[in-house]
Symmetry: C2
Subunit: 764 residues, 2 copies
């Protein structure tokens, strides 16, 4: 049960907001009734399967599909040679079916559609591909070198042309003012999302040429736009694309882009004239879903004797893999902690994304922030030690404060970082436990993240349509996406609170581009804030309509009326009251009657970063502090987490239980990232594409999480709330690394912090 | 190809309205992709089956379900004894599972849910019921007699307490003014809807207690309300009921009410905790779906020497069957032609609906109007003959005219009856062919029907929500129901016309109570008018929003802007123009952007009939004339239709092809009603529950239909349109009977006019 520190202004009298309401779909999911892409089956449906490359880098000499085509039950075999070219990704550098050459082991070389999965698998095995291997490069530094094999021969370098450079203040001055400077290198591995629900989709063309894609995507509107490329390639420009969400079995950024497999499924559906479903096996999910990328960072920070930071300088090299998805844009978010975690007047940041023959990189919860924060916050401890200030005290000296404008131009509104630090200090018994180095230790890691949208696209908005029926049941059609985080529940609570009805009276319908208005997607911890505000404002409009029309019915002034617990009532005379359902029926059941429908499109006043990478990227910023107490076995290097605390400024907890869920789920991912997760590759080939060899935190590994919810009541958030989806994993790695250092005196600068590194002689 | 007579005002320049656009779902249906209730299959679904009564009237002594319960695969066996009582129907006189006694052969005695249809059928056979037969009554006149067996023992009479009496003017005066009076009796048989898609539904309870029913119902919102009775009985009051339409394989009124089988399916789903589907076999569809009722009418009309009608008097007895569905309310519509077809100053009408042990009666296309019009229009010919005036001329003398207020209080707006008569005269070559009695003959039958809604419920309204996306694709969410008539296409055309886009850019989404706003249902030929107006006004609001926001973009005054063919343009300066899609993206893709959503609830200013059964029932009235030329084989009595013409005042044909479809489809039903259709019963038992013994018109029987569309541009209809769903069958029977009389001199006053009646000695 979370401890909630309410804003000093006191808590308004909420009926629904702040309550511990189980996720609305919890029972459906527990009872196995939720329909995932794996459950979807429609008449005449075929099964798709992809043939992957056998080389990291090779020319395709010949593809012979004749044996596959002859297999009974095979309805289509497609390659880059018998289909129109479609390219995907941020730079459109990824042909959905590879022609001429492959650039990574997971490249799509051919695909089939067949009457059963077994036939499709067999057919894929019957496709013969003749390759001519090419020299490959698997290290981004080597890939940058003169003469390295070019991954894309139409480009003159393996270095992507991207604007990832941020300069704030005067770095020379920052260095010269510093009494202490620390410079280090950090490295972070490939990790992957490990969604319980693997990737997949089903595509079907209608008789009129329109396309419907069922998909667990996080971005159904951007996917709708992207799939338009397939329609164009097929000569169906102008036809409608409908994207329908199935239940999403986790996403965490893995379903934030469109990928070749989706276009392949569309092509198979087109050429067979039948619905085609393609779902990744667990092994494919591991090696074919883009991952959080490998990052090498060089970081230096300096401060005065009194602990005030004077500069921060970070240079990074990111392994982009062979193609460009959102992974290449994560430096835009890495900049955020680099520029704005603590008050640092002078900032330099530069990142290079480099093509290699490795797997390619996409978005993953935190979107670069965990990598940057691991480096920053590990080093803050080192710097504090050099200055001789307690690391928590050191952070307090540099703490962010409400009203601050950071060097990158972020306008910090609500900010509870100080309260988070204080809470973690108390919770960990910091003052008594810090600095013993007796095999036990405490450590912490602060974080900043966007909490009020993030303008990464021309619109950062979300639309909502609300209707009320004759029984005062509310339908909220929201552009948002619930991928398990409980957005539907949070939106239902917001609407119920505003309309004065019970959460049970509200359903939230999401998941069909034909029905709901646009939303940019479930990313950047934006849904509670943006979709929540959209729903709130739509509900407010609906309420206005109701009170307008109810006033004559109740013979009261509209301004005097309100709605609570399903009743419209006069605030000045509580005896004047009517059931909301009765009011709605009275408005409807008469000649010229009406029903209540309201809609709102909310686009937050976020700014796109300018050419200098500056601007108020989000309307609100979420702060938090992770704290850990660990015990390290000196002989085996085994790390036991004795206590784990996350204090998070969430603005307002709309649903305390769901915030806890985010904190606990984030901690599980964050601890895994810190101590065990790593996708291992040898010459571009993934070595551990299964849960036996890729270690994630399992239930027995999971410590109890102490959740401390700080409410700062953000002025722009719905009922004061800020986004909380990603932050709960961002501070884990430095908190644990710092606690390990406190326990052992050993500083590990590469993740994951496996026992081998702790029993090694050198710091890593 | 229909002949279209446009209004004299000339036709506005439409882009889409009036075009011959194939039904939007035509290809899906032809390709077998539309999903009917028969196609629906979900995981864990069970199959329901009903045990029907073996007697027309009997006490239930005992129901032994033990053998059925033991059958492997059976999941529930329910009866009236182990389930809460739920009653359905207009008078709530129909228990969904019969207890104590059965009142007709189609009574529901028990039901099962099982893993397969075969098991369910077997289980039903294993239920043992002990009956004690009771005296039964099958003739409504006998049922009215003193001492007749009471169908419902809690009632003191078999005569239903209903207000079906209409008196207008002064009947004594009407009789005394008449120089000629004819008095006759007419009788009309049971006929049934013969939907290709038989009845059925699927019910499923969600983990939270909410209920979803998939159903081809015509009235999903009233069904939603009705199913609330089941929720109440199950202790789930306040939970949400969602009704989702499957594709509807015809309805024609048969799916206008809720019936015991639907509640039984809900009960089975509740007690098994699994989705249950129950679909009628063809035989069940024939005997268990309520039908158009048997009617006996006594009618007299009188006129002056100059042909002016002075009175009309009609008394009817309707066989209600054992329970009360909409069939008992059809006299409310029978009144319409009786009071308002031609100018008749003095009117008397009375109808009695009588319980019997026969099958019960529901709505069917025309809703009583075909029965009444057969009597009226057959007799008009007899009366005209007595006066010595050509029957067409006789009708012209009494023709309805625009602006007229009829004795029942109908305010006739647009009225093209005169033009219809003229068109049929010309089309049939009336003046040359009439009156030869040489085995060939011509005849006609006029009609009036509601064409602008009909207030049978507290609301006659329909809601629409419209949204436009970034590609100027339009989604129209309409409360209306398409049961094959093409409402989606008509609504798409109306919206496309108003918004200046192509029909292909519009999709119309109907069929989910959770998503769309309310509509009373697909009945009374109201959808084009009411749902059409709702869509039109919603589109107009959307257009207003677009032009408001586009004005600054195009630097033009809003009033000067319009939209045509997907472009927003200045009317005064055609060079100022921008693609609508570009405008929408410009409005969306900016900070604080928006998307266009508009909604409208349209409830027509129709009046409920008052206690005297008077009032302006509809906002517009549709007129038409059926004409036939027949050849009758004197020896066999075989009737060959040489020519069939329907002239119909539709106000405005939104889609000429679909109007033709209605005229042709209506004619097929009307000719079948006239010449062959009859549901035959012996002591309450249906003798011909299959298409072998129940004769409908098949393709070779179908004459070519000459469609003449008269456009009178109704002032209240969307683009001038009036409803056209039912009228195309209303005038068939009198037109054919009159043509047969003209050919043979034989007047047949009972339907169907089978050859036996024509070779008989007496008039029938």
């Amino acid at each position: 049960m979370a401890k909630v520190l309410e804003p000093k202004t006191g808590k308004p009298e909420f009926h629904t907001v702040g309550r511990r309401i189980p996720k609305l779909d919890a029972l459906e999911k527990v009872q196995g009734k939720a329909a995932y892409i794996h459950d979807l089956k429609v008449p005449r449906m075929l099964y798709g399967k992809i043939l992957w490359s056998e080389h990291a880098h090779a020319r395709i000499r010949k593809i012979d599909t004749s044996r596959a085509e002859k297999l009974p039950g095979v309805k289509a075999v497609i390659t880059g040679y018998n289909t129109p070219e479609i390219k995907t990704g941020f730079f459109k550098d990824n042909p959905v079916l590879k022609k001429d050459k492959v650039r990574q082991f997971r490249d799509e070389v051919a695909a089939v559609a067949a009457e059963s999965e077994a036939i499709a698998e067999e057919a894929v095995r019957l496709i013969d591909v003749e390759y001519e291997p090419l020299p490959a490069v698997f290290d981004p530094v080597e890939a940058m070198a003169e003469g390295a094999p070019l991954i894309h021969e139409d480009k003159d370098s393996n270095i992507l042309k991207l604007p990832w450079k941020l300069v704030c203040g005067d770095m020379d001055q920052g260095r010269s003012q510093a009494d202490f400077i620390v410079e280090e290198s950090y490295s972070m591995p490939w990790v992957t999302h490990c969604c319980m629900g693997s990737s997949g989709c089903m595509a079907e063309f209608h008789a009129n040429g329109n396309l419907t894609v069922h998909s667990p995507t996080q971005i159904r509107y951007l996917a709708q736009r992207d799939f338009g490329d397939a329609m164009k390639a097929l000569g169906l420009k102008g036809k409608r694309v409908q994207v329908v969400n199935t239940a999403i079995g986790g996403a965490f950024g893995s379903k934030l882009d469109t990928y070749p497999f989706e276009f392949i499924t569309i092509l198979l559906a087109y050429y067979t004239g039948r619905p085609v479903k393609l779902v990744f096996s667990r092994e494919e999910e591991f090696f074919a879903t883009p991952s959080r990328q490998k990052v090498d960072a060089r970081i230096s920070q300096g401060c005065k004797k009194d602990g005030h930071l004077t500069f921060r300088e970070v240079e990074m090299v990111l392994d982009n893999g062979a193609y460009t998805s959102w992974g290449a844009t994560t430096p835009s978010v890495m900049m955020m902690p680099i520029s704005s975690l603590y008050k640092v007047p002078n900032i330099y940041y530069e990142a290079k994304c480099v093509y290699t023959n490795n797997i390619y990189a996409t978005a993953m919860r935190g979107y670069g922030n965990p990598q940057a924060t691991f480096a920053i916050e590990s080093q803050i401890d080192t710097l504090a030690e050099q200055v001789g200030i307690d690391p928590l005290q050191f952070r307090m000296i540099n703490v962010n404060t409400p009203g601050e404008i950071t060097p990158q131009g972020f306008q910090i509104g609500s900010c509870g970082l100080k309260e988070c630090l204080e809470s973690v200090r108390e919770s960990l018994d910091w003052d008594n436990k810090k600095g013993k180095q007796d095999g036990r230790g405490v450590g912490l890691g602060s974080l900043i993240h966007v909490g009020g949208g993030a303008r990464i696209y021309k619109s950062d908005g979300c639309g909502t349509i609300i209707k009320l029926d004759d029984f005062a049941k509310v339908t909220v059609m929201s552009g948002a996406t619930d991928m398990g985080q409980g957005s539907d529940t949070v939106i239902a609570q917001i609407v119920a609170e505003e309309l004065g009805v019970e959460v049970d009276d509200v359903i939230v319908v999401m998941g069909n581009t034909d029905m709901e208005t646009w939303d940019v997607g479930a990313h950047a911890s934006r849904t509670t804030f943006v979709a929540g505000n959209s729903a709130l404002f739509a509900a407010r409009k609906a309420k206005e309509q109701i009170l307008d029309l109810a006033a004559p019915l109740l013979q009261a002034a509209k301004e005097d009326l309100s709605i609570k617990e399903g009743n419209v009532f006069s605030r000045s005379n509580p005896e004047v009251s009517m059931q909301l359902a009765r009011v709605l029926r009275a408005l409807h059941f008469k000649t010229g009657g009406t029903q209540i429908v309201a809609s709102h499109f909310y686009d937050p006043p976020t700014q796109m970063l300018d050419r200098e990478m500056k601007g108020n990227f989000s309307v609100a910023y979420t702060y938090g502090v992770h704290g850990a107490e660990v015990e390290v076995d000196k002989e085996t290097g085994h790390v036991e987490i004795l206590k784990y605390v996350i204090a998070m400024d969430v603005g307002r907890a709309i649903n305390t239980m769901l915030v806890e869920g985010q904190l606990e789920g984030g901690a599980a991912m964050g601890i895994g990232y810190s101590l065990m997760e790593e996708l291992k590759a040898d010459q571009g080939k993934i070595l551990n594409p299964n849960f036996l060899d890729y270690k994630i935190l399992t239930f027995p590994d999971m410590p109890d999480i102490t959740s401390i919810i700080i409410e700062t009541e953000d002025q722009f958030g719905p009922f004061g709330a800020k986004g909380i989806g990603e932050p709960p994993l961002v501070g884990s790695a430095p908190a644990i690394a710092n606690a390990i250092y406190d326990a052992t005196g050993k500083r590990v600068r590469s993740l994951p912090i496996i026992p081998e590194k702790l029993v090694a002689q050198e710091d890593e």
